[in-house]
C-alpha cells in the first residue's frame, strides 16, 4: 500500500526514476557519408518493411531532417521499444559547391545542393536538444579523430544524452574498429555494415541498453 502510494505520487509529479522508457526519439548523427541514411533504411526495412531516405555516394544527400514515427523494435528477450527515428544531415565545417562539380553536377545544381546542405547542418545541430538517445554513425574506414566527431559527441555528453557509436562499413578491408574504440573509450562501439546488415542484431541489442 505504501509502495502504491509513492508510485502514484511520483506518477502525478511526472517523475519516476524506475519507469522504463517505452517511446524514444532516436537521432542518427555523424559526419557526411558515414552511412546514417543507410542505417535508417536498414532499421526501417527490418522493422517496418519500407525504406526511409535516399542514399548516394555524393556527400550531403540528406539535407533535411527526416522522421519516421512508430518504429517498434524487439530485442532477443521479446521486450519492445518504440522509436521516432530521426535521420539528420551530416555535420560538416566546410561546404564547397565546387566539390559537387567535381562529382559531375551542374553548377546550378551544385550551388543549390551546397546551400541546402548548410541549412541541413544548422537544423541537425538545433535538433540535438530534442533527442532522447543518439547513434553516432562513423565511417570505420576513416580517421575518427576529426573535430566534427569530437564536437558532436562532446555536445551530446554536455546535454546528458545517451550515445551509441555505430562504426559503419566494417565490410570494407580498411575498416579499423580499434582506432574508434581508442578514440572514444567511454562509449559503447558496435561495428556494423548497414548496407549488408552485418552485426545488426548486436546493434539492436546495444540500442536497447543505451535507450532504456
Amino acid at each position: 500500500m505504501v509502495k502504491e502510494f509513492f508510485k502514484n505520487l511520483l506518477n502525478k509529479l511526472s517523475f519516476n526514476p524506475f519507469k522504463r522508457k517505452t517511446h524514444v526519439k532516436l537521432g542518427l548523427y555523424g559526419p557526411p557519408n558515414g552511412g546514417k541514411s543507410t542505417l535508417a533504411n536498414r532499421i526501417c526495412q527490418d522493422w517496418l518493411g519500407e525504406e526511409m531516405s535516399s542514399v548516394s555516394h555524393i556527400a550531403h544527400e540528406t539535407r533535411e531532417i527526416k522522421i519516421k514515427e512508430q518504429v517498434n523494435i524487439k530485442n532477443k528477450k521479446g521486450k519492445e521499444l518504440t522509436f521516432s527515428l530521426v535521420d539528420t544531415p551530416g555535420i560538416a565545417t566546410r561546404i564547397d559547391y565546387e566539390d559537387f562539380l567535381k562529382r559531375g553536377m551542374k553548377k546550378k545544381e551544385a550551388k543549390s545542393r551546397a546551400k541546402d546542405a548548410t541549412k541541413g547542418v544548422i537544423d541537425a545541430i538545433k535538433w540535438l536538444d530534442n533527442m532522447d538517445s543518439v547513434v553516432v554513425v562513423l565511417d570505420a574506414t576513416k580517421d575518427p579523430y576529426s573535430q566534427v566527431n569530437i564536437t558532436i559527441i562532446g555536445n551530446l555528453q554536455a546535454r546528458d544524452i545517451p550515445v551509441l557509436i555505430a562504426a559503419n562499413k566494417v565490410d570494407l578491408k580498411r575498416a579499423n574498429l580499434d582506432v574508434i574504440h581508442a578514440a572514444f573509450p567511454q562509449y559503447e562501439v558496435v561495428g556494423i555494415s548497414a548496407k549488408y546488415g552485418k552485426n545488426i542484431e548486436d546493434f539492436y541489442e546495444q540500442l536497447f541498453k543505451v535507450a532504456k
Binding site: I95, D96, T118, V121, I122, Y145, Q147, N155, A158
Partner: protein
Amino acid sequence: MVTFQFVPYNDIELLSSAKRINKLLNIVKEEKIVIMEGRLRKEEEADLIEITMEEISAKFRGIELSVIYPDKNKQDISQKMRGVFVNLLLGNRQGLTIIGPASVVKKIEQNPDKIELFTNESKTRYRKKKRKK
C-alpha cells in the same frame, strides 16, 4: 603565403560566446589561420559550426577546426587537481584551438599526440614548380 594569428586567452576571456565566435570567424575570413590559447566550450564549438554554415558564401567556404587538449584519462590525480585549480584561477587556458579557412586549409589531421595541417596553397605551389620543369 600562410598567415597565422595567435589569439591569447586574455583576448576572449571576458567576451560573450557570440562575440568570441565572431572575433574568431572575422580573423578566419581574412584568410588567416587562428591559433587560440585554450578552447571553446563544447556548446560554443557547435555554435561556431552553426554560424559558419550561416555565413557560407561564394567567397567563404567554411572552416577547418582542430583542438589539442590534454587527455584527462592519462593524467594522474595530482595533475587533474592542478588542472582544476589553474582553471579556477586563470580560466580554461589548457589546450590549443586551430581554426583555418577552408580556402587555405585543405584538412587538419588530428592524432592523439600530433596535428598535421595541410594547406591548399602548398599543393598549388607544388604544381607551379612542376610546370617550370
